[in-house]
């Protein structure tokens, strides 16, 4: 349901010279749901992906914070806990797989900001976003629980990237607060409440759009925005764009190439205001 993230991330990586190769026959990481039913089986899902990546001698780059957290957690526990490692190794062995612990798991945002850096990103810009006011929404699992990428309470890595492409990140106190994840489906009342708060905060701080780095966060604040309005009598119309879509616009890609035409809440008006050329 998120070709937009996939398409825009691939285009941005191509522009930046990041050579992406899809992990061969990767499986679902299990996210939060699988771990709620099985513990070690959930870790084995991560372990298989890590084993395949190690065999291909590649590090893993992910765009979803849930994948980041589950893969990183398995990685850490393998290094910290020998009994855990024995169980995982035995499981992998039964499938003729093995993992020695040599794969690093990273989020694309962090790779772009830290490995590629400001000068390289700026050199690809065809048009800056002319002070487009963006609420940088990090959500939960990019920085929590490990805090390796950025601060667990008030991260700024996305804010910095937005400045590089000419946007204006607004103050966003709820930037790392929860969108509810799957709660929108399993407990709509709470899901809507959490997202109403996120939208309200963005609006109050003058945001014209919200930048996301997680497909589930994006779904909750964009696809269900109409439901928030219906429930609370609000009239939010705040488009949500992936950080790679915003980068793509600055790099000169078209709305269709970046799958912006698939949005449910139109960003046309704000893009026309802040971009010289919209293809």
């Amino acid at each position: 349901m998120n070709k937009a993230y996939d398409k825009s991330a691939k285009l941005v990586c191509e522009s930046l010279g990041i050579d992406l190769a899809e992990l061969n026959d990767w499986n679902c990481c299990g996210a939060s749901a699988y771990m709620a039913i099985h513990e070690m089986r959930a870790h084995l899902l991560s372990a298989r992906n890590l084993a395949i990546a190690e065999k291909e001698r590649k590090n893993l780059v992910v765009v979803c914070p849930a994948c980041l957290t589950t893969l990183t957690k398995t990685n850490h526990y393998l290094a910290e806990d020998s009994r855990f490692k024995r169980t995982i190794d035995a499981g992998l062995k039964a499938a003729n797989l093995q993992y020695w612990g040599n794969v690093k798991v990273r989020h694309l945002l962090e790779v772009i900001v830290n490995d590629i850096g400001e000068n390289e990103v700026k050199s690809r810009i065809k048009q800056k976003l002319k002070a487009l006011k963006v609420a940088p929404y990090y959500g939960c699992q990019l920085t929590r629980p490990f805090g390796e990428i950025d601060d667990t309470e008030f991260p700024t890595i996305l804010d910095r990237l937005l400045i590089w492409i000419g946007a204006e990140p607004v103050n966003y106190p709820l930037k790392a607060k929860c969108c509810g994840g799957l709660l929108m489906m399993t407990n709509e009342d709470v899901g809507l409440e959490l997202n109403r708060n996120l939208l309200d905060c963005a609006q109050q701080n003058g945001a014209e759009c919200i930048a996301t780095i997680c497909p589930l966060c994006h779904m909750n604040i964009e696809t269900y925005q109409g439901d928030v309005n219906k429930r609370f009598g609000t009239s939010f119309r705040i488009p949500a764009l992936y950080f790679t879509q915003l980068m793509g616009l600055a790099f000169g890609f078209s709305r269709k190439e970046l799958a912006i035409n698939e949005e449910l809440i139109s960003s046309q008006r704000i893009l026309e205001k802040h971009l010289e050329v919209i293809r």
Partner: protein, 207 residues
């Protein structure tokens, strides 16, 4: 020697023991002993306002031998794994991991009753991943609705139509080639043994 008042008391003790055994097995798990009952977890939790028992109360209940009421409540099914509690706990308790353990326990002993939608969704998620090696949103959502709110499926149709018309509705789930590898991995585990050892608890009711 511990004197038990009655069967319920014995059962409560057994449940707590099973739970603690599992928690101590988690990396960093025995930090749970150092809970100060400060309430930082409850205050940080985005959904604690809707919980029958707050995160802090879980550990209080455990200490009072009242774990079962936690497992029967909506509390654990409102946890979104946001990890706010985990990063702020002054005792370094990995409360999110403990929440996962509670979820698994509640399901294993058939205690998940109230607010069990999240449990149903999680089981469907596992079922789809076990069959395909990948997640597929359309079967997840449609099967979930049919199970929990068949009439509510009608409400979903306008949203589904909007997504479909914008090409955001992937209809065919992809199955990975290495699905048998995942099966072989899982085959080495003996996680499911616990409930077999404690039949009275597995029934989830008074015995």
């Amino acid at each position: 020697m511990i004197m038990y008042e009655d069967r319920a008391d014995r059962r409560a003790h057994a449940l707590s023991n099973i739970f603690l055994h599992a928690v101590y097995g988690l990396p960093g798990g025995d930090k749970i002993k150092e809970c100060l009952q400060c309430g930082t977890c409850s205050a940080s939790c985005p959904t604690s306002y809707a919980m029958d028992y707050t995160p802090r109360e879980i550990i209080a209940a455990l200490r009072a031998g009242l774990l079962e009421r936690i497992l029967r409540s909506n509390t654990i099914w409102l946890c979104t794994s946001c990890y706010s509690c985990t990063v702020r706990c002054p005792s370094g308790i990995k409360l999110t991991d403990i929440m996962y353990e509670l979820k698994r326990l509640a399901i294993e002993f058939g205690l998940a009753q109230e607010g069990a939608n999240a449990a149903i969704a999680a089981k469907l998620f596992v079922d789809i991943v076990d069959k395909n090696g990948r997640m597929a949103e359309v079967p997840l959502v449609s099967r979930f609705l049919l199970k929990t709110n068949p009439l509510g499926t009608l409400k979903m149709i306008p949203r589904a139509a909007k997504l479909f018309l914008r090409g955001r509705m992937p209809l065919i789930p992809h199955r990975i080639k290495g699905i048998s590898e995942l099966e072989k991995c899982a085959g080495t585990l003996t996680e499911a043994l616990v409930s077999g050892l404690h039949p009275p608890l597995a029934h989830g009711g008074e015995d």
